[in-house]
Amino acid sequence: MTSSSDWQRIEECFHRAVDLSVAAQQAYLAALDDADLRRQVESLLAADDVAEELVDGAVAESVEWLAQEPAEGLPDLGPYRPIRELGRGGFGTVYLAERTDRDFRLEVAVKRVQRAYGPTDLAQRFLLERRILARLDHPNIAKLFDAGTSGDGDPYFVMEYIAGDPLDRHCDDRRLDVRRRLLLMLDICAAVSYAHRNLVVHRDLKPSNILVTGDGVPKLLDFGIAKLLDDGSTSPLAMTRTGLLPLTPEYASPEQVRAETLTTASDVYSLGVVLFRLLSGSAPYDFPAPRRASTIERVICDDPVPPMSQRFAELDATRGEKLAERRATSRDGLRRELRGDLDNIVAKALRKESERRYGSVEQLADDLRRHLDRRPVKATGDSLAYVTGRFLRRHLWGVTTVVLLLLSLLGGIVATTHQMQQAQQHQARAERVIDLLVNDVFGSATKDRAQDELPDARQILDQSTRALDRQLAATPYVHGTVLAVVGGLYQRLGAYDRAQVFLQRGLERLRPLLGEEHPEVLRLGSDLADAYLDRNLFLPARDLLLEIVRRQRRFPESVADLAVSLLRLASVEENLGNSGVAEGLLTESLGLRRQLYGDDSLEVADAKNLRAQFARQGRDLETAEMLFQEVLEVRRRRLGHDHRDVLTTLSDLAVCAYDRQDFARAEEMLVQVVSLSEHIHGPVHRNVAHPLINLGAVQRKLGHYDAAVPVLQRALDIQQEVFGADHAKTLVAARNLARLYLDRGEIEPAERWILSNLQSLRRQRASPLEVAKYQLDLADLETERGAFSKAKPLYLEVDGVLASHLPAGHPIRALTLFQLGRIACQEKDWPTAKRYLRRALDIQLEALGEGHYRTARTQAELALCLIDQGQEEAGQTMLAPALERLRAELAPNDPIRVWVERRASPRS
């Protein structure tokens, strides 16, 4: 038919033109001078649109026949003379047949059951279907004329034969615009609604079951799997397992694929899918190949349905244009038409939970009519709060106003409901409000404009929650959810004590309702553990997390939650000193998150961040810095340069620079971090205190004492405000300040802070190791005072604790040994002094290296001790290089350097 070179040209032109817009295609074709070629390409392009449906469809439908018994000859249908088989659908075969009486001829569709396969009660069901259909008489429902039994005993029934097109094709062929499509849908809704009033649910609504006659009258076909709602005489049949019924997954509701009880809400859902397709031209979701029951169930029951307009906008331009053209509009025009009301209406019909859909088909129709009349539709009722929120924010009324408004709205919604059904609807609305609070208001508040509003937000939260408690007492689920949300908000605001209380109360409310193992309950428990962690309540956090992790491991669907809990547990274990366990948990969580989110995800970065923290605590600075750098890159890319998490990582990198003794660099980074953090979080926030503490430490290293004191004082003020006086983080700030005073020789303020720290630790029954670190401060204070007799037993006590809790080579141990040696030296107990100092030196050479100032200080002390003892030469040989290193490492006014230099001066 075609020569091979011709064919090649056709191919070439086809591929060049096929993805062009309609207009561009026409221009392209017009430019072809070979008329034959043009015709060929044109006809191929015209076929492109329907090609897949036609060709693949032909194959797919014949594959289905393989599953069915081979067709027999045309059956004996009593008075109806079969003309031909129209095909097979549902569990029957449909024939076109005619009935001829003396002077009248009627064409009918005859549906006959295939007895060859299917459940044994098929015949009964078929009779049921006949009875149901006989009750329905509506202009938009195909009529049932008759029923009977075929020659070989199969039941059949006789329906109105509809000559028409399926709904979608009817609309496309005639290029009906959205309005006219909606008018057709209103007729269809009327028919379904009529059936519902007669207690019949269709259960298989789809465009191919809705034919439109040449006069434009839609007719619903095939109530073949309809279900009788209330007929007591057929109760065994009414309880039929839906799972046995063949259904069309594209239009099936979640409850349908789960084989649960079907109600009129299932038809509302299917009508939603029909609307989605009819208006936008796409299905609400795709089923990945190969189609398996499990995949289909997941897609229908779990995958969120995107807004219709979004789905349409995501199509490629050519396809979008074609679809728009069939709706007599442009791509942009269609998108605009779908957005808003229609998106909302369809979304409401397509809710996964049947009770959140339209209560009836009539309500759906009512909203469609409202849309057509340009009246406000009810489907937007859910997002009223959202719209209000948007309005308020646009007008810069401030976050607090919005919070106040939403909380009162939330209270109002829940407080006014009594009836069950209403309660459910309101609950949906309440959830929307909560969602808005958490994500929109507080999400943006903590991100960009927290400065003035956050303290206010907290106050308002305090007031509103009391009111909510009163109003919500009668609705435990909503109350529990609200408590948990408020707990989460407090946590975000850094009010950990209140966060803990609210999370705990929420948990207590929800647990009896949902059960111990409900994912929501487990998640909430994990959040509560996180609040414990924030308050350094490690043991209760561990108990809780161990339990939750154990349960979450059992549910594959909780794997994302499990990864979170594992990270929290890792933090707890690390804090309890179980680094090996922590590392194992962290590795597991990191692995899960890699699988869940991919290597480049923020979730993986979060886990890496924790690992970097551990590495830094374990003095593996190189690994820590490398990991932080990786985290920084991912976070910058994903979150932008001024996100708080980016700042945290920057600040961590600054600490790494500090640990590497690059103090100038560390100071420079930290000054930046502090100012950006104030910008993001406001002046009183833990994320401001944290870099301030570090900045103070760096300034101390650099000898900028006068600058460091106010910096640390401010950090401490913030910590006390945010965490409370006894919080470990507050103690760290207080400790740093105390040490700074100590360095400056200001004994009084140093002592005040050191003693208050120790009191606080005793109140909390802190671990001996924790207490030991602070006792070291006290001992150093006594040494500074020259009260060696007080200092020595303190050092010995601390050393005992350190020896039993830390490995022998831990550099902290060298600190006590050094101090004990120094005191022995002052007391001229040379052998003891040398023994302590040499042990300290060994540890430091091993752990810190020769270049570290502390190593140098110990060396200098040992040298001075030797000189004091009279071993002048050996002492001087050792002193010179040690002094040199101290001068290289420390600022001229550094107390350690000053101390050593002063001691060395009369001798060198």
């Binding site: 090609a51 194959v59 026949w65 081979p70 031909r84 549902g90 397992r241």
Partner: protein, 207 residues
């Protein structure tokens, strides 16, 4: 890949024995066909046919089943059932290469049989009639498609192979490209044009 099907309930037969025999036989025939024995293909047909029907039935009877039988499921399940699990990709590729042709022949045979039974070979259905009840189907459509495919085959064989592999056997683009040893982009291009060409032929049927 698709999990293996539940064993079907075959009346009176021990499904395991039949399956085992089939399995040995299919592997032998595949190897023979690879060795150049063209008749091995004919011998494969009845076995695969039986299995296809079997699987299709299981699908429809299974509880919670949804009526969405796809060629790809059939072919993959037949493969899992019939070809020994440890056969190398080489063997797998051969199976899938032949699967498209097998499916096509099976469907044509079946359609022909049904078409004859129905009307004793009288007037074929027109597409427009079918569209009145699109859930229903006509064997003629498949026969028309097969004839169009024969015409296409006559001057562009590769397109016919692509259609067989992708549409009849339901292989993915990727699998098709491996089986036919051409790039995936070639498969996509060939497929698009072949579909359009076939659709045009189908729409132009004189009836």
């Amino acid at each position: 890949m698709v999990p293996t099907a539940e064993e079907p309930n075959r009346n009176g037969e021990d499904p395991q024995t039949v399956l085992e025999q089939d399995r040995v036989e299919v592997t032998r025939l595949l190897l023979a066909w690879r060795g150049g024995d063209a008749q091995a293909l004919d011998a494969l047909i009845p076995i695969v046919y039986r299995q296809l029907r079997e699987i299709a039935h299981v699908h429809l009877r299974r509880e919670h089943s949804v009526r969405t039988l796809q060629p790809t499921e059939l072919v993959h399940e037949v493969y899992l059932r019939l070809v020994e699990a440890d056969i190398a990709w080489q063997g797998k590729a051969h199976f899938f290469a032949v699967a498209g042709r097998l499916m096509r022949r099976l469907l044509v045979d079946e359609s022909r049989r049904r078409s004859r039974q129905k009307r004793g070979g009288e007037r074929p259905l027109r597409l427009e009639d079918l569209d009145h009840l699109p859930a229903l189907s006509s064997p003629q459509r498949l026969l028309d498609l097969d004839q169009a495919l024969q015409r296409l085959e006559a001057f562009d064989e590769r397109k016919a192979r692509v259609v067989e592999a992708r549409i009849f056997a339901g292989l993915t683009i990727d699998e098709t490209s491996k089986v036919l040893a051409v790039s995936t982009s070639t498969v996509e291009r060939e497929l698009r044009l072949a579909r359009s060409w076939l659709a045009r032929e189908l729409m132009a049927e004189p009836e």
